[in-house]
Amino acid sequence: MTMILDHVSHAYESGTAMQVMALDNISLVIPDGQFIGLIGHTGSGKSTLVQHLNGLLAPTSGNIYYDGRDIHDEDYPKKELRSKVGLVFQYPEHQLFEVDVFKDVCFGPKNLGLSQKEIELRAYEALKLVGIEDEYFYQSPFDLSGGQKRRVAIAGVLAMKPQVLILDEPTAGLDPKGRDEILKQIAALKAKTGITVILVSHSMEDVAEYVERLIVMNRGRVLYDDTPSAVFAHYEELEKIGLAAPQVTYVMNELAKAGFAVRTDVTTIEEACDEILRVVSSVPFE
């Protein structure tokens, strides 16, 4: 289900002296099944963009098409859109409220008006997808660890069976192991279900490791839209707009400056390790 943004702009406090162009003439095509990273400094328009994708905000000009239809047409079923494009907000565990984990995940599909059996099946499936074991199903969500709570909250969105899953900084505040667990789980879930995943992140290391396409926002515009290694090659420009490249990209660039014939478009530790070994294995020890 392709999503198309056609010259989308969004102005806050439009028509006043305080007008801010949060989105400025954005055109993007988001085809089925991509794993996309979205980065940009605070206030670059990421969250505004994401809220347009499931119709929470409407563009002040331009159009958004989902599966060929304009989502802001009068007769477009908005409710259906919200279940197809699932949005997991920052710190989603703050939105947990039910007495047990299973009931919490049932809440979304229940609102879709499905049969009780279907609701429970979906909740079960969603919890399995995020790696929550049966033994936790009837515990209070508040007794879980930070990473587990977050996975339960993500399951709540997955139970709606979205075709597009948008996660706004899903790893903020988690310890390194918890970060890895969530991201691995999301990658596994993406591989299994083939849904489109859009990951909003402040961690360059994380996006470099997982996504296939990286969109960089700055001042409401799309500055780069390419593979992570192509985007991170612009690390100097990225720094100017408050971002950075993964630390290994800097290492490779510094090594190249020091005379090592290494490739510099490297964004993960594994790649860097292989590349350095390739270069030094041809140099004998002195």
Binding site: A172, K177, E205, G242, L255
Partner: protein, 282 residues
């Protein structure tokens, strides 16, 4: 400056009827001695007891067992409460929860005003604090219009204005973008280097730890590892067991070592790695 002796803290978990369900020992038998002007970083996975320990450092929580002294004063002794709170300032994760003023300078002045500092001196303190974190030019701005990193620096200025000897920062960068993280870290290091304020930094970002004098690694309420960043980060496998990580460059050096490149242990920065590689192959 700060000293803990067999410090322990227990949470009592209760069910809906108020019956005791169990006891969690969040801090368990912790001893430390932090000298004036030290930069201490505390690492540990979620639920390892870092924040609970931090809350003992300015008498938000009191020990169940053992004692903690801040500047020689026992935190459990009520007569020292305000001295301790003023001496050991705390900065939390979310800047939006800590800012109350309508304009930046008003917010920074809130602390000293509550301490009964004379008006003229409040203004001096506000200005010097904002300068210390590089936010002086924003003194008339509304906090709502600032970025996350700027807001967090205003929070830090609000603490400095109380003239503490020690600042405890509990994941101050968790919600910030890369440049916001850099800004806050730079401000924190400057306070330590220039003003000689004792810093206790709790974080999940391993790269933020490399400038600390000492690192404490917590697990299950105890200080499991303790040492310089070089010492701590040379134990890659041990840290992974504790749900932690090492900076990317340290991990890269570690992987290269495993493949037979004779790099030294505990490489923390890009410059170190490039220097060592040049020494070996240049």
């Amino acid at each position: 400056m700060m000293k803990a002796e067999r410090l322990a803290f227990e949470y009592i978990r209760r069910d809906e009827e108020g019956n005791v369900e169990g006891i969690t020992r969040a801090v368990d038998d912790v001893d430390f001695d932090i000298a004036k002007g030290e930069f201490i970083a505390i690492l540990g996975h979620n639920g390892s007891g870092k924040s609970t320990l931090a809350k003992h450092m300015n008498a938000i929580l009191y020990p169940t067992e053992g004692t903690i002294y801040v500047d020689g004063k026992n935190t459990a002794d009520e007569q020292y409460l305000w001295d301790i709170r003023q001496n050991a300032g705390m900065v939390f994760q979310n800047p939006d929860n800590q800012i109350i003023g309508q304009i930046v300078e008003e917010d920074v002045g809130f602390g000293p005003e509550n301490m009964g500092v004379p008006t003229k001196e409040i203004w001096e303190r506000v200005n010097e604090s904002l300068k210390a974190v590089g936010m002086y030019e924003y003194r008339k701005a509304s906090p709502n219009k600032l970025s996350g990193g700027q807001k967090q620096r205003v929070s830090i200025a609000g603490v400095i204005a109380m003239h503490p000897q020690c600042i405890i920062l509990d994941e101050p960068t968790a919600m910030l973008d890369p440049s916001g993280r850099k800004e806050v870290l730079r401000a924190v290091r400057a306070l330590n280097d220039v003003e000689k304020i004792t810093i206790i930094l709790i974080t999940h970002y391993m790269e933020e730890v490399i400038h600390a004098d000492r690192v404490f690694v917590m697990d299950k309420g105890r200080i499991e590892m303790q040492g310089t960043p070089e010492e701590i980060f040379s134990e890659v496998e041990r840290l992974k067991e504790l749900r932690l990580d090492v900076p990317q460059v340290t991990l890269l050096a570690y992987e290269l070592q495993k493949k037979g490149i004779p790099l030294p242990k505990g490489i923390l920065t890009t410059e170190q790695l490039v220097r060592e590689m040049t020494r070996l192959y240049g």
